[in-house]
């Protein structure tokens, strides 16, 4: 028996796709891949931009935090506050004074001449946070240090000798130590807390 023209309705083999459908599928795939690629690229680029921006912000923040510690005075050190030699005097705005604190030098960043391993540093009105320490008489002082605590590490911009930069009451509980050098703290940043 001769078969009739027409599809074998009972054929079990699937029909092969036509050429148009295949093209559509391929195109769709290309589009999807392209979109995905663009998405990934954009994401990567955005990520890179964000990172750069964050880096920049971070740098700005660090610069703002660092303030003038890298430029003020002729000396810049990272040093550990050894102790608090007694309480700071009351400081209600009526009386202003500087208080000598003892430091162990960890690193010297800038200096003119030798810097001893132990430093004595006069801090103006130490009860005040360094962000609020500048006043009509000493307008160049500052830093991000909130409080003085034995064992903490500070990054300090200093001048020396102290009495060529400060003229006022000085509380010096180390006054019996002869020949010690007292530095004048201009900028005081926190550089770590004590253990």
């Amino acid at each position: 028996m001769e078969e009739a023209d027409g599809p074998d309705s009972e054929s079990t083999t699937p029909d092969p796709p036509s050429s148009h459908a295949a093209a559509r599928i391929i195109l769709l795939g290309v589009i999807l891949v392209g979109v995905a690629a663009i998405g990934v690229a954009t994401a990567v680029r955005n990520s890179a931009t964000t990172t750069a921006s964050a880096d920049s912000r971070d740098k700005d923040q660090k610069a703002a935090v660092a303030g003038e510690v890298g430029t003020a005075g002729r000396f810049e050190v990272t040093a550990k506050l050894v102790e608090l030699p007694g309480e700071f005097l009351p400081n209600d705005g009526l009386y202003n004074y500087a208080f000598v604190l003892k430091y162990e030098v960890l690193e010297v960043h800038r200096s003119e001449g030798d810097v001893a391993s132990t430093l004595y540093v006069a801090h103006y009105n130490p009860r005040k946070t360094r962000t609020k320490v500048a006043d009509e008489f000493y307008s160049d002082l500052g830093g991000n240090l909130e409080r003085f605590r034995a064992g903490d590490v500070h990054r300090l911009a200093l001048e020396q000798p102290w009495d060529q930069h400060y003229i006022g009451p000085l509380v010096d509980r180390y006054h019996k130590l002869a020949d010690k050098r007292i530095y004048w703290a201009i900028w005081s940043n926190s550089a770590g807390t004590g253990g």
């Binding site: 009526l94 009509e136 008489f137 006022g168 009451p169 000085l170 509380v171 010096d172």
Partner: protein, 342 residues
């Protein structure tokens, strides 16, 4: 009057009586006598705070009468006036109005002005921190980070420079020209009164621990200053003291619990003492001045108010008389009639 109001009046009266000692007729008579004694003895000049906020220089008789403004400058405060030794000129500081005048750092504020005795024809000399007359009135001394400088007024040139030797404020030249006195850091003790030999630069301690605002007695042998002794409970009250320049035993002139005594100065003959009685520490320059007072040095020590703790420490002290002056700051006294022919 309602009962509650009567009680309030009674309470107020009791408070007033407890705050001030009983003013007897004898006390009033003693004050009146003092007033009569000093009223004609030249003039005082002082800074007085104006309602508009600035300070002006005011001339008055030593009893506080016949007040007359010498300056009237809303944009400026005139502070800490001092007549020249011959009383023909006046030095004072000109500070921008609105600036809070520091009771112990005023010498670093504003500019030094030299004018005639009635503050006319003022000439700004410059910053000249702590500028103070020399005995002959031809020079001034200044105190700054650079040290002590002596400046010739005719040429404006620095003729001499000395190490400041711990001085940080309130440097004053003695009338005999031999000494400076001022407030200094000495041996770890701040606010120490120090005398320095002008020629050699050698110095000695006059009074240790919590002193300030020193000034010379006219004989150049004694120094008057404020001191907040440690033998008090809590923060304590600032008192007026005097000590020989060489620094031997000091003695209290005037003290009063609930008052801080500043602005100590002596009359040109050294017989009378001027001061201010400030309820808050600082002498009043940060606010609106403080009530002035005048007493005889011969009546010292005097204790004002009830001041029970202080009276225990100074049982020999007198109650007065003290002549009350208006609210003022840093008064200065001349026996010269600075108004004559002017």
């Amino acid at each position: 009057m309602p009962h509650s109001s009567r009680m309030l009046v009674l309470a107020t009266a009791l408070w007033a009586f407890s705050a001030e000692p009983d003013a007897t007729a004898a006390d009033a008579q003693a004050v009146a006598s003092l007033r009569k004694e000093v009223a004609g003895k030249g003039y005082l000049v002082a800074s007085i705070k104006q309602k508009r906020g600035d300070w002006d220089l005011v001339l008055m008789r030593p009893d506080g009468s016949k007040q007359r403004k010498l300056t009237d400058t809303p944009a400026w405060s005139e502070a800490a006036p001092r007549w020249s030794p011959d009383s023909r000129r006046l030095l004072y500081r000109r500070i921008k109005a609105g600036t809070v005048i520091s009771h112990d750092r005023w010498g670093f504020q504003g500019e030094l002005v030299m004018a005639d005795a009635l503050a006319r024809n003022g000439r700004v000399l410059g910053k000249h921190t702590w500028g103070c007359w020399s005995p002959d009135g031809k020079q001034i001394s200044t105190l700054s980070l650079k040290g002590i400088e002596i400046i010739d007024l005719a040429t404006s040139k620095v003729t001499r420079r000395l190490s400041r030797a711990g001085y940080f404020q309130q440097l004053f030249w003695s009338p005999d020209g031999k000494w400076f006195c001022g407030t200094a850091n000495v041996g770890g003790e701040l606010w120490t009164i120090v005398r320095m030999d002008v020629v050699t630069g050698k110095w000695n301690v006059v009074s240790r621990f919590r002193n300030c605002t020193p000034d010379w007695a006219p004989d150049s042998k004694q120094i008057i200053f404020s001191n907040r002794p440690s033998n008090q409970q809590g923060y304590g009250w600032t008192q007026l003291w005097i000590a020989p320049g060489q620094g031997s035993k000091r003695r209290m002139i005037y003290g009063e619990e609930n008052r801080h005594i500043y602005g100590g100065g002596l009359s040109p003959d050294g017989r009378y003492v001027l001061f201010t009685r400030c309820p808050k520490d600082g002498g009043g320059s940060e606010r609106a001045g403080a009530p002035g007072g005048l007493m005889r040095l011969a009546d010292a020590p005097i204790i004002g108010g009830n001041s029970p703790a202080l009276r225990k420490l100074h049982p020999q002290a007198h109650d007065g008389p003290v002549l009350k002056l208006p609210d003022l700051w840093e008064p200065h006294w001349t026996y010269t009639d600075v108004t004559a022919g002017r």
